[in-house]
Point group: C2
Chain length 465, copies 2
């Protein structure tokens, strides 16, 4: 038989157990929080008709779609976000609740140039509210995302908020025609990545990027760029202060939506430390029409924003005459996983590995494993062909088990079960009492339990109820 | 703007909230059970290189793959099961535990002819053990699937088991060359769908199927077919009886693996009612080499098998020299969902909808919703623009909420909150005491709670701790 090289398609990757487990945990927490806010789940297919996905998106994005033919020779493509499928759904089904608060988690695919840490398939976890203009909706999605990130335990983070209304006012104030606005926003969105100097080059004559490609400039005048620069230099952070500055520069009308949002955030006790206003936030997608948000982890800025969203009042109009203003927030689950990935090293997916010492007593080991499982202990029965204990304990270590159960001829005779603690390790504590505690534990590293009571004892050791 | 028709690609579908919610529940239960057995999660991409997916599969299956080009112009395809990606993984990564017990849940895609109830994207939930020949592995996957289906509550079901070793012995016994065996198994796999007459036609001269297509026959002789027919007529069900009959017809060697499996199933107390031996089970996939299994729901046979699997000792050899015998079991989550779908009608995803009676007091409603959520009550705040109560209660009904919270000017004045029970409905009971109970409930359909204690009271009504 010809051997085939086992490898991933360029730009794709696998998640092995520790990371896959941690990712499941993250997704479960987000799901629970979003359900507690009354968001309802939907699922849509990975494939959509190409014409569904094209349209409002910028030219750059349409190039990033994986396109192919259906068996009926129609143009289809892999979805590249969960927002367009949602817009399709609310137009397609008449009997959805209105407003429709939905959550969806799933893979999206982009035929990007792959970079280290940037993959062509990744998981988004989205919430959206479709069918209301009220800034209560922005408040709901922001508050739900804040709660989810807190419950996951991502460390310190901040939701940075701005509004396309403000940005449109800046474009007008800078003497730039309204039909160039989206081009300007796409450039501004790169501010954190490329810095103000490069932004100014992209707004004017263009520049060469790090891989030597020429990025053509927008050809704006110096006086326009100066006004944009003044705007970008506004203070950020404290919401009421930012509102005052924007009002002073661009007039009250430009931040009416942010003002309403600020009030609701106050009601919920969400302070400036958690939700800030930041005039430099633009977001790259063309379809935003109102407030835009992104989340950064304060101590892990290098991972970029781990969540983003905003109001998009016109997207659904592509599919229906109904007026369905909408707002959404998307968590980049894989980016979040990468940012808090160290924790994956410590995930504990198995409580006990039952080793096999006497191959002619397999029935007994099966019973032992079964009793543990019935009692709610996550139990792995060693299924391999290694006969020695050392190799089997290496296996237990690989699956990150807390305890090994060992029953040899000696134990069978005495009617006992030996339990070995696989996680005592080094003494982590610094003072004498901690050392004493550790010594006590390490003496208990291996203990004999009576066969008939061992399940109860192991549950005690695991601190299970 | 040109309107685009909102529709799914032919053969694809959406899951709206009730079904998506129920599906999540099913997946959570399976995940918990599989983790309790020590299976570890992995995730693999939707796309694989085409050459990874081709090979061992039958000709029919290769036609069912969604194929296209990567941005690098390489041949890629959407995975059409989770088993081949697993075979790739165990060959690709050296430091996995061995044996490797993994679970994976995800979409697979097949470019089949779509039928009612048969879709081109569906979710599989797989467990596999790679790296052992021991029938303990079969026992583990069968026992885990049984536990998962019991915990989901699918009603009565049976795992039907046979072995490719038995089927190979039948092929030899019937005087059919070994290299035709896989063709024979693919025909036998259709027995439940098309019946013995059509099976015999497909084994001999061929037949026209219901859509008028000619299915060429295998051209077997009458005496071969007679022997197969005799075999298929063996009793099924009681394991020890089936073993005796097979042994009598085909010799002891043919069912050595089933014998060992039967013993382990006895140890776990899994009786004939839950795991039966059935000589007619063949499974369609070419790669099976030992025991094969499928699960049928006793009262819902029309949904076909909701899970299937078996031993495949040679699949990994396509990718590595290492000898990695394997066994797996796959649950068809969507088929299971369809079979128990009526239950989705009753899923209760939201506890309380907070209606909005006074638009100038939005802050108050936001506070009310926030207090409920903080206390763990799944709370939806009405975000729409309808001012009337009736429309808002219709919304609450759409999201299947248990209670509506109503606070109008009257309630604000009195410092109370009105809670309306949305689920009392008709009297379901038949006798007088049940009717009395219902009358009592329906009197309580709407009650006033003091503003400051309302959260505690609502939790009591919901029977939350």
């Amino acid at each position: 038989m010809e051997r085939i090289e086992p490898q991933n398609v360029k730009g794709f990757r696998d998640l092995l157990p520790r990371y896959a487990y941690k990712k499941n945990e993250i997704i479960s927490v987000i799901r629970r929080v979003y359900e507690s806010y009354g968001f309802l789940p939907v699922e849509t297919p990975g494939l959509e008709y190409l014409e569904i996905l094209l349209g409002e998106y910028g030219e750059e994005n349409t190039k990033q779609i994986f396109k192919f033919k259906s068996p009926e020779e129609q143009d289809v493509a892999l979805r590249f976000d969960l927002t367009v499928p949602l817009a399709r759904i609310v137009a397609q089904y008449n009997d959805l609740p209105k407003p429709f608060k939905r959550y969806q988690v799933g893979s999206v695919w982009r035929a990007d140039k792959p970079d280290p840490g940037r993959f062509r398939e990744f998981t988004q976890f989205d919430i959206d509210v479709v069918g209301t203009s009220s800034q209560l909706a922005e408040t709901e999605v922001i508050s739900a995302v804040v709660k989810a990130l807190q419950e996951i335990g991502v460390g310190e983070f901040v939701v940075n908020v701005n509004s396309r209304r403000v940005l449109n006012a800046v474009v007008a104030y800078s003497g730039i025609p309204a039909d160039r606005a989206k081009d300007v926003f796409r450039v501004l969105d790169k501010l954190n990545k490329i810095g103000i100097q490069n932004i100014e080059l992209e707004l004017t004559k263009g520049r060469f990027d790090s891989s030597g490609d020429f990025i053509p400039g927008l050809g704006l005048t110096g006086s326009s760029v100066k006004k944009i620069r003044d705007y970008l230099a506004l203070p950020k952070g404290e919401r009421k202060k930012v509102l005052a500055e924007i009002t002073a520069l661009l007039g009250e009308e430009s931040c009416s939506d942010l003002k309403s949002l600020d009030n609701f955030l106050d009601v919920l006790g969400l302070g400036n430390g958690v939700v800030s206003f930041d005039p430099t936030i633009a977001r790259g997608l063309d379809y935003y029409t109102g407030p835009v948000f992104e989340v950064n982890l304060k101590n892990k800025l290098q991972f970029g924003s781990v969540a983003g969203g905003g109001r998009y009042d016109n997207l659904v109009k592509r599919f229906t005459n109904a007026d369905l203003p909408a707002v959404g927030f998307s968590i980049g689950v894989d980016r979040l996983l990468a940012a808090i990935g160290d924790e994956a090293e410590n995930v504990n997916f198995t409580d006990v590995v039952v080793t096999i010492m006497e191959r002619n007593k397999l029935d007994e080991y099966l019973k032992i494993a079964n009793e543990l499982r019935t009692a709610g202990v996550r139990t792995d029965l060693y299924l391999g062909e290694e006969k020695g204990l050392r190799k089997q304990l290496q296996y237990a270590d690989k699956v990150n088990a807390r305890f090994a159960v060992i029953v040899g001829s000696n134990e069978f005779e005495k009617g006992v079960i030996t339990v070995k603690d696989l996680k005592v390790g080094e003494c982590a504590g610094k003072d004498a009492s901690e050392h004493e505690e550790w010594l006590k534990k390490s003496r208990e590293i291996q203990k004999e339990l009576p066969r008939k009571d061992f399940v109860k004892e192991i549950k005690k050791l695991l601190e299970l109820k």
